[in-house]
Amino acid sequence: MALLLGIVACAPRQTARGGVSVKPEESRKKAPEFTLKDVHGNAVHLSDFKGKVVLLDFWATWCGPCVIEIPWFMEFQRKYKDRGFEVLGVAMDDDGWKSVTPYVEKRKFNYRVVLGDDLTGDQYGGIEALPSTYVIDRNGKIAAVHIGLSKKEEFEDAIQILLDSPVHAAAQSAPGDSAAGHGAVRAGAHADRRPGSHS
């Protein structure tokens, strides 16, 4: 019985639709900390979102598949913000705010957007393809990675599962407080670049 319980405890969380939406807690790695600037020049740290479920979306204005997901993320922001959820967009446009600002204003983003850089991209596995989206649990650990256009339900299932999960007392530190696990995150992100893949 103990063995059986152990297996169940390590199993990925299943969604109501039968898909696997989040990694088991034991295999989640710490989300690397970063400091990036928003459109107003304010520094935004991942650790600012301590205790929240964070959907970290690497995107660009020239990325067609990213455009599909952005309205979903705005909907999630509206729907789950009051339960401790935040979307943070990391724009990877080479020409920076010149492209990003009019794009964000036209589409009336309701979540924060920061400008990404190579260092941050490297910390998250290189970000070779967009969209690359990381769903981070309340303990600052990466619970799901989506490379490429994914299904809306997969994101929402993950968010709901993570919002319902408790914050561990031993893991009250902010996301990114430790660099431990960067290698594993990097390896995981590189290992699965199939279109629409998630882990």
Partner: protein, 115 residues
């Protein structure tokens, strides 16, 4: 007059925006010649096709598979005889049906002999 044809190809399932993409935010295919003895007369881009992808409501102007860019050069009267190189850059941004890749700029160099 000299003509240079640049042959390029994308793997199956991938596309790059044409030189006249469907949306202002999309990054166009662009060939720029920036060094060498010749003067660019015209650049002819490959014929774009309109393709529908799952991530776009409307068809996109793209190039796929094998394609050719043709440049016609004039030889200026001031050009010196002898061997030289004509250099440039080809910029493209590729995607498949589910993801996009960062814009790439590759160097292009063509050996020329002016007589």
């Amino acid at each position: 007059m000299a003509v240079v044809t640049l042959h390029a190809s994308l793997p199956a399932g991938y596309h790059a925006n044409s030189n006249t993409p469907s949306d202002a935010y999309l990054i166009p295919l662009s060939l720029k010649w920036n060094g060498g003895p010749l003067e660019v007369d015209s650049v002819t881009y490959p014929k774009a096709s309109l393709e529908k992808y799952s991530f776009s409501d409307k068809p996109l102007s793209v190039v796929t598979g094998e394609f050719v860019l043709t440049t016609k050069f004039k030889v200026p009267a001031s050009a010196l005889n002898g061997a030289a190189a004509q250099t440039g850059t080809l910029k493209f941004q590729a995607c498949n049906d589910r993801m996009c890749f960062a814009p790439k700029t590759v160097n292009v160099s063509v050996a020329v002999e002016i007589q």
